[in-house]
Point group: C2
């Protein structure tokens, strides 16, 4: 008989908790969709400030603006965390053309890759070797490559449903292409934009020279997908064509910038910290609305929704807007370093850095037990069309926090349109849908609420 | 021992079938994503033809164009099915302003609702009664309404995750507002656009006068969401303001048009017909890319993918591009009528009429047994992020085919952006993403393949 009572008590408690969670999620979603602030914050970041490359005036304006917004939320603490960041500047617009005969030229849209050296004032004009991979350089050897421009043209794989996988399958050309082609004495590299769509936007992004000595570094630019196809088709007709390009970028001295941080102190476990964030810097070509203005305003909205709902978290919930994800990850590294120095205990991290699109779910970098717990909440998310609770990556900025026992997670929005805009001139505010952005903020808040309420499972 | 053999045979067979299905779906998706045709067909429909209101030259061009495309697919049969359709024309652009004092005016964006009568050459100027519902008219009564313009301003409910539910909760104002307000001697009605976004586009759509005698019909127009909020705010300051609007639309005689039909004959059960379709007509303000050019080109693509993959369907697969869904449903009704006359046996219908966005799944209007069978295929769709297999509506055009035993289904794309564009000037090609469109076509083809292969379960 006693067992029966215990059992009834147990199922009643579970049912009550489930019901309480259902109502709490509904409240977060209602607040986000009916009086959400994220979209207006993003409008300011995008349209009043614009692209926020590390070390730029715009990046500093974004620091000031987001700090002001956090200040307005009556949080327990808001502060700036100093961090030195690289300062790379694009300079005058880049320029390129294909020359099929003396004086017969076609301009093509290019942009310098972030971190590239300039071409020098007279630009570079040379013949073009088209390759599909870094590996192919080996086969061609110095004999064929030396004195030419290497054109990396492997497209993203359209068959992959998760477009981030298609990106991963190509991005080595952009990141390491110049360092590798430089070993064979190429004069420069042109890389097909990481974009699944055919259009005229060149997509920038970070690249690295690795340990290439400064005087052996060769310039690197992205070409739009239409430009890449045009160049490839023209090469088939005339392999002796010349390609001209001119880049005017410069790497300056590091400058001081900041991570922007706000927190709600935990009621019963204030020393256990749960971080939610995005990165405040962006590339300079568009206004960084999807990458990653969206993640920043969603992360601020998480704190606002928690405050507004009246939910009192047990643990400390901290929003961190990381500086310099794009070309250095200095903000993410600094945050983790300071946390370690201060002996802070981080138990959870969530990053939104995959665009402000309809959220499809989360991927988790954590123990199986914590993943299983997250999956047990799937039915709570079902009414909001959030279905994905899978093992996977989290986010670049929270990555440095990784240690045993921590749960790291990444918001996974629908990825189909992300690379249409990524790092390009058309990553702009009008391509963000208000509701899609808000649904992401509500989903993030819901996940944080559940992990705060039910705790992180230790091994 | 024999039992064990049978069991092993059974699981081997199931595993083989599952594997075969996995490969077949992968092939449909690969073909759709790597060499899909739907996007180029839509480009033509949208950019070369444009809005395709029933009875218009553009509607006829769309009939001719899509028939040519079906002809090019080497199908077993392609034909046009004649149907008489209503012909309503918008005439010169509509015009409206708010007058807060003599000569002090603000223009606001409006458009006539489809089927509305005109205002007459001098327009209508009157005071405005704002209401939130048709029911409110009753409370106000003739005394307050007579001689005024009724302004229906109930917004779509932003809390609803499925935006079609929010639409259903409001559309009575648009559909029946004029007929109802007319009973109280209103001079005209202005209806808040069915749009969850704040913008300046008025959204048209069908309305009905019911049994209102012709000489008692009052004109009806939609006002943009920004315009509606402005009007409402201005009314709060000055309830005596005048509203002026002028509509120049006309209802002409019915004209002949066509459903466009193509089919692949079934190999073993040719008399069992599976229909897939969308509607070829659209409203006239935009180019009808999402509503429902997308559904049309996806439905043509289904046949192309089946042919290209080499899969030989057991049943007859028929693509039907229905005419006149928007303001009459004559195509859907005619198709069902002819099918009945010819004693055709339709076992399955699938419609795509919710935009060319990332497919989230399907809703089914069918027996529980068939729904359960569809749900048993969910794991096959999981790699494509298609999660929704639920009871629900199918599509307006295939609705008239409903009878015992038939499975009717509707593609359910992500609905967040749909009503930003629905029936408005900004339902245009550039708002359709190629991959999202193609994923829909592949999901539709996959569902048809599975129902063809495993059959429809009879009660």
């Amino acid at each position: 008989m006693k067992k029966l009572f215990v059992f009834i008590f147990f199922i009643t408690t579970v049912a009550f908790a489930q019901n309480e969670d259902t109502e709490q999620l509904r409240e977060f979603y209602d607040l986000a969709l009916n009086e959400g602030q994220s979209y207006e914050w993003l409008r300011h970041l995008s349209n009043r400030i614009g692209g926020r490359l590390s070390g730029s005036v715009e990046a500093q304006q974004a620091v000031d603006y987001t700090k002001r917004q956090l200040d307005s939320l009556s949080l327990d603490r808001v502060w700036l965390q100093p961090v030195m960041v690289p300062k790379w500047v694009r300079g005058a617009p880049e320029f390129a053309y294909i020359e099929t005969a003396p004086g017969v030229t076609n301009n093509v849209p290019i942009c310098a890759l972030g971190g590239s050296v300039a071409t020098g004032g007279r630009g570079i004009k040379a013949k073009v070797i088209e390759v599909q991979s870094i590996k192919e350089l080996e086969t061609l050897g110095k004999e064929k490559i030396s004195g030419n421009i290497v054109f990396f043209n492997r497209p993203m794989n359209a068959s992959l449903i998760n477009t981030f996988q298609a990106y991963s399958g190509c991005v080595d050309q952009r990141y390491a292409g110049a360092a590798e082609a430089g070993k064979y004495e190429a004069l420069g590299v042109i890389v097909r934009s990481m974009n699944l769509r055919q259009d005229d936007f060149p997509h920038t992004g970070s690249m690295s020279y690795g340990d290439t000595p400064v005087n052996e570094r060769i310039p690197a630019a992205a070409i739009s997908t239409n430009g890449a196809d045009f160049l490839s088709a023209t090469l088939k007709l005339n392999s002796e064509l010349n390609f001209f390009f001119k880049l005017n970028c410069r790497q300056l001295e590091d400058v001081e910038s900041f991570n922007v941080i706000g927190e709600i102190k935990g009621s019963t476990k204030p020393d256990e910290i749960m971080v939610v964030g995005g990165h405040l810097d962006s590339w300079d070509l568009g206004d960084g609305s999807h990458d990653d203005g969206a993640g920043c305003v969603q992360s601020i909205e998480v704190l606002r929704l928690i405050k507004k709902s009246g939910y009192k978290p047990q643990r400390t919930i901290r929003t961190v807007l990381f500086m310099n994800e794009e070309n250095g990850l200095r903000g993410g590294n600094e945050y983790a370093k300071v946390a370690k120095t201060k002996n802070e205990k981080h138990v959870f991290g969530l990053e939104s850095d995959a665009g402000g699109f309809t959220p499809r779910g989360f991927s988790f970098d954590c123990s199986d037990a914590n993943l299983k717990q997250a999956q047990s909440w799937a039915s709570l998310f079902e009414p909001y069309m959030v279905h994905l609770f899978v093992k996977g990556g989290s986010g670049a900025d929270i990555g440095p926090l990784k240690e045993d026992g921590i749960v790291l997670a990444g918001l996974r929005p629908d990825s189909q349109r992300y690379f249409d805009h990524h790092h390009a001139e058309n990553d702009t505010f009008e391509h963000v849908n208000k509701r899609e952005l808000e649904l992401g903020a509500a989903a993030m808040t819901s996940l944080i609420y559940l992990f705060d309420k039910y705790g992180i499972i230790s091994e």
